[in-house]
């Protein structure tokens, strides 16, 4: 009833028109519900559709059928059918997504990349930049790098920029796709504590964690994503 995000009969099939119209079913009838303050880890073998599910939850992929309900400004919004402007508003205020890879914008500094979602929510520029710098520092990204565009950064550095951008606004719902994949032990600890703090603040978190040690420390439960082909076989 009080889910921050939930799916209802969510199914997703890819139709590849350039490959003769071949259909690849990936998700079938997924029913997932996450409460505020809860962290659910998606489990299942590689290729089972965990990342596809994440992208459907964010509205980055459309759904074949079913719904993704996100509680936004007190009302449940169906991400799969909401118009583009409403999805943008949900992403600005409610729904955050930390993907595995940072999409770099030429000439935009690291600090501004992190401050941008804060400013979109109306935080004043100076405060947004200060909060961005503090979070980047907490993720051990030296201040000397904050003014540079992250195009030339290492994978781990880019991932930390992405994490700072995702955690800075304090979204009520946060999706994390492999948030610790390229991080060393020290930064993994920072991410674990960021997740714990977000949960205490009431954030509903859905994550994919290949690092089972991290997963077991942050997740309240696992949600099994089963590959459709083998389930049918």
């Amino acid at each position: 009833m009080n889910a921050a995000i939930r799916t209802e009969h969510l199914s997703k099939t890819f139709t590849l028109h350039l490959q003769g119209g071949i259909c690849i079913p990936v998700l079938q009838d997924v029913e997932l519900s996450v409460a505020p303050g809860e962290c659910v880890a998606l489990a299942g073998p590689s290729g089972a559709g965990k990342s596809t599910l994440m992208r459907c939850l964010y509205g980055n992929y459309g759904a074949g059928s079913g719904h993704v309900w996100v509680r936004h400004a007190g009302v449940e919004v169906d991400i799969t059918s909401a118009d583009a402007r409403l999805v943008r508003a949900v992403r600005r205020d409610t729904l955050g997504y930390v993907s595995q890879f940072l999409r770099v914008i030429p000439r935009v500094s690291t600090q501004d990349i992190v401050a941008e979602p804060l400013m979109a929510r109306g935080v004043a520029k100076e405060e947004a930049r200060a909060r961005a710098a503090a979070l980047l520092a907490r993720l051990n990204l030296p201040a000397a790098l904050h003014g540079l565009p992250p195009a030339t950064f290492s994978g781990g550095e880019q991932q930390r920029v992405n994490l700072a951008r995702g955690f800075a606004p304090g979204y009520p719902v946060l999706l994390l796709d492999e948030p610790t994949a390229s991080l060393d032990a020290g930064n993994r600890e920072v991410v674990v504590s960021l997740i714990a703090e977000a949960k205490r603040a009431g954030t509903a978190i859905i994550g994919i964690f290949h690092d089972t040690e991290v997963r077991d420390r942050v997740a309240d439960r696992l949600f099994e994503v089963a590959p459709i082909q083998s389930a049918a076989a």
Partner: protein, 252 residues
Amino acid sequence: MSDALMQASGLTLRFGAVAALDDVALEIHPGEVVAIVGESGSGKTTLLRVLAGMMAPASGQVLYAGEDVHAMGESARRRLMRSEWGFVHQNPRDGLRLRVSAGGNVGERLMAAGARHYGGIRAEAIEWLKRVEIDPARIDDMPEKFSGGMQQRLQIARTLVTQPKLVFMDEPTGGLDVSVQAKLLDLIRALVAELGLAVLIVTHDIAAARLLAHRILVMRRGQVVEQGLVDRVLDDPQHPYTQLLVSSVLAA
């Protein structure tokens, strides 16, 4: 929805046997950036020109703030183009006066919008040259001496100086070097966000559409074959043509 800045419906136009527009509908809201993509001849530039009132459709309607753009008459349209609208042409030579100084190009549009105080106009022109990263020392130079990228940035300054609500852009990075394109795209991105402009941008550059736009329309043979949230259309394209378009982009 009622708060749309511009609404178009049923737009149809043929060039001989070719359908340039085939029952196209579109709306754009304040502060929204909408990209129109598709290959050459898909009708995207025609659509932009019809929406901007530069070309009449055979049938269909374009409403701006509730007013029919094609019924309002030439002088009312010109007034809009001088004030609430802006148009950035692919070729800056079409949007600039090459034998008028850089400052004059910017100031001229301010004057057309009613500004009269010379000192104020010049100060505003200097401010805008800085915003588009043109050295203010070049204010009295003729734009015909400028590089293509500089001319395009000057055209953007000239267009935005009057703070329009809706800006039409036709392949604004078209003929430019890649390094120059990136700078221009970033400049457009920052200005659009800062000024809260609504923008309709025609481009065949998918990456530019992803960077700038909130929403995207994919056109083919005069029809909108797919539209929606920019990242969803590009990452999970449904129509065969969109799949072809997206898969044809080389990853750098």
